[in-house]
């Protein structure tokens, strides 16, 4: 119970946000931040716990988004079912890419480059294939009914993405506590030693890839229901792959709350920089970049771990902090 208490507390706290404010700006910000936390969490399971740094998580996000959109628009399938198929589609793409890369023993930078290549191939295919709407993209018809997975109120969308984030957080915690999780971390730390202890390295990586892809795809499905539009540059764009890895790295790679903290901080930072920069184009991105560099340079283990350390050093008397 102790393991899950903090997750329940954080989720309940976040669930109260729409009760406190009705500002669409705030809610929109929070929806986007939570969606980023969601695909960041997906990346975190494979990259943070498993040590397999993917540069192509857009492959899963985009597949989730496209499957959800195309099934509704071209085949008239109910949005909720399309959402489910979108998640399954992302998981399938994860299984295929995982089987191909891990079977051939790709590690480190080779793995990163090949995942990037997969995402790019999908982007190019999606930008020319008639089924995806090619260059024009796919627009979901406005139909503000719950049965169509569309809501008048942003608060409902907010609670839905929060529910997805909650499931991802709990999944991560369960993995952390399980045999699979111990093996996954062992693979990250030292593959040869893991093998010697009976860990089927390829199977563990593949499992992590599928879970990772599933969570990331869910974010893609959510994206398309929220914005009702997708094209290849959005769905399979490199920005998704980069945010997916940046978010947990800033927040704390291989921690349960890392992606959530990272998403809130980076998105908040982006908004603040934009507001402060005013008319000067690009200045917000410069400020954003500088802060990212500083965080990575001085807090290489991420914000959530740094926060934990700070908290402990305040609570415990001097000298005891850091021990035990």
């Amino acid at each position: 119970m102790k393991d899950f208490g903090s997750i329940v507390a954080v989720v309940l706290l976040l669930a109260a946000v729409p009760l406190v404010t009705h500002s669409n700006v705030v809610l929109n910000f929070m929806v986007v931040a939570l969606m980023t936390a969601l695909f960041g969490q997906g990346w975190n399971i494979l990259g943070g716990y498993g040590g397999q740094y993917s540069f192509g998580h857009a492959a899963f996000f985009g597949t989730g988004a496209y499957v959800t959109a195309v099934l509704q628009v071209r085949y008239g399938i109910n949005a909720w079912f399309a959402f489910g198929f979108g998640i399954a589609g992302g998981a399938l793409v994860g299984a295929v890419i995982g089987a191909l890369t891990f079977r051939s023993g790709l590690r480190g930078s080779h793995f990163a480059l090949v995942t990037l290549a997969f995402a790019e191939v999908l982007r190019i295919v999606a930008s020319v294939a008639p089924m995806t709407g090619a260059g024009v993209g796919t627009l979901i018809k406005l139909d503000l009914r719950p049965i169509a997975f569309q809501f008048q109120s942003r608060a409902v969308f907010y609670w839905i993405v929060l529910l997805l984030v909650a499931v991802a957080l709990l999944t991560t915690r369960l993995i952390e506590r399980s045999r699979f999780g111990a093996w996954l971390v062992a693979v990250r730390e030292n593959e040869d030693a893991a093998k010697a202890l009976g860990v089927d390295v390829a199977a563990v990586k593949l499992g992590a890839m599928v879970i990772s892809a599933t969570i990331t795809a869910a974010a893609g499905c959510f994206y398309v229901q929220y914005f009702l539009f997708v094209d290849s540059a959005i769905a399979y764009g490199t920005w998704i792959s980069i945010e997916a890895l940046l978010t947990p790295i800033i927040g704390g790679v291989g921690t349960v709350f890392g992606p959530l903290v990272g998403a809130l901080v980076t998105k908040g930072l982006g908004e603040t920089a934009q507001a402060l920069a005013g008319d000067a184009p690009g200045l917000d991105l410069v400020a954003y970049g500088v802060v990212l560099v500083l965080v990575i340079a001085f807090l290489p283990r991420g914000l959530s771990r740094a926060g934990e350390r700070l908290l402990r050093s305040r609570v415990l008397p001097r000298g005891e902090a850091g021990h035990g």
Binding site: E189, A193, K195, V199
Partner: protein
């Protein structure tokens, strides 16, 4: 079953490019004993271990375990069958605590976290790491890391334990501590095949020694027999060394 050796290497060769590192080696280690594999540097001992544990495939020959042909099986499957190895160059999961390191091994036989925890705890106690289980593995001393290698391997509850120079780099008092521990493992039914350079320990622990030099077995027997063997002395000290030693003794 008593006649079937626990592990038997049958005419195994291994080639690395133009180098034949192992040349048709055959030997067997019986169950319930400590068997030692010694030999000068570069003899191919670690390569042979890697072949037995599944990390390398032999270019020719077979490996049998409990009478079954296990040649070329991947290491994780051999670990499930009961073969555990330690690494000559220690390979801790550096970012994890000592407990979590051992836990990875314990999960092989215990699915639930509680059971694996209990098993890991008892192994930590057995190898004398009980006091440091919460420390990060990379803060251990050399002796501590060697113990951790041993602990992780033991946590998989092996039938056959392959020890690759667990005593190398330890001081005499640390060796004195670990030798009885290895003896104790054998006493509780774990068969051991060890590569070792510390001859004093080989003498005290094993009943049967194989000597590997330049990829071939050149001698076998009790520790005393191989230590007196002319070919063994020459393999270590160079051609003609045995007769010179004999001359000074005379």
């Amino acid at each position: 079953m008593a006649d079937v050796p626990l592990v038997a290497v049958d005419n195994v060769s291994r080639r690395f490019g133009g180098l034949l590192a192992i040349k048709g080696v055959s030997f067997a280690a019986p169950a319930g004993r400590i068997t030692a594999l010694i030999g000068p540097n570069g003899a191919g001992k670690t390569t042979l271990f890697a072949i037995i544990a599944g990390f390398l495939k032999p270019s020719a020959g077979r490996v049998r375990y409990c009478g079954e042909d296990v040649t070329g099986e991947p290491p994780h499957r051999l670990a499930r069958r009961g073969i555990a190895r330690t690494f000559q160059i220690v390979q801790p999961f550096a970012g994890l605590s000592v407990r979590d390191n051992i836990l990875v091994g314990a999960f092989l036989r215990h699915r639930s976290r509680a059971a694996a925890h209990a098993a890991a705890e008892s192994v930590a106690h057995e190898v004398g790491l009980a006091g440091v289980v919460d420390r990060p593995a990379d803060t251990l001393t050399v002796a501590g890391r060697k113990r951790l290698e041993l602990a992780r391997a033991l946590a998989t509850e092996p039938k056959l334990l392959l020890l690759d120079e667990v005593l190398a780099g330890l001081n005499p008092s640390e060796i004195r501590d670990i030798v009885p521990m290895i003896r104790g493992l054998c006493d509780r039914g774990i068969s051991i095949l060890m590569i070792e350079h510390v001859m004093q320990a080989v003498m005290r622990l094993s009943e049967h020694v194989f000597v590997l030099a330049e990829g071939s077995i050149i001698a076998e027997g009790t520790p005393a027999q191989v230590a007196a063997d002319t070919k063994v002395i020459e393999a270590y000290l160079g051609h003609g060394a045995a007769s010179k030693l004999g001359a000074t003794h005379a």
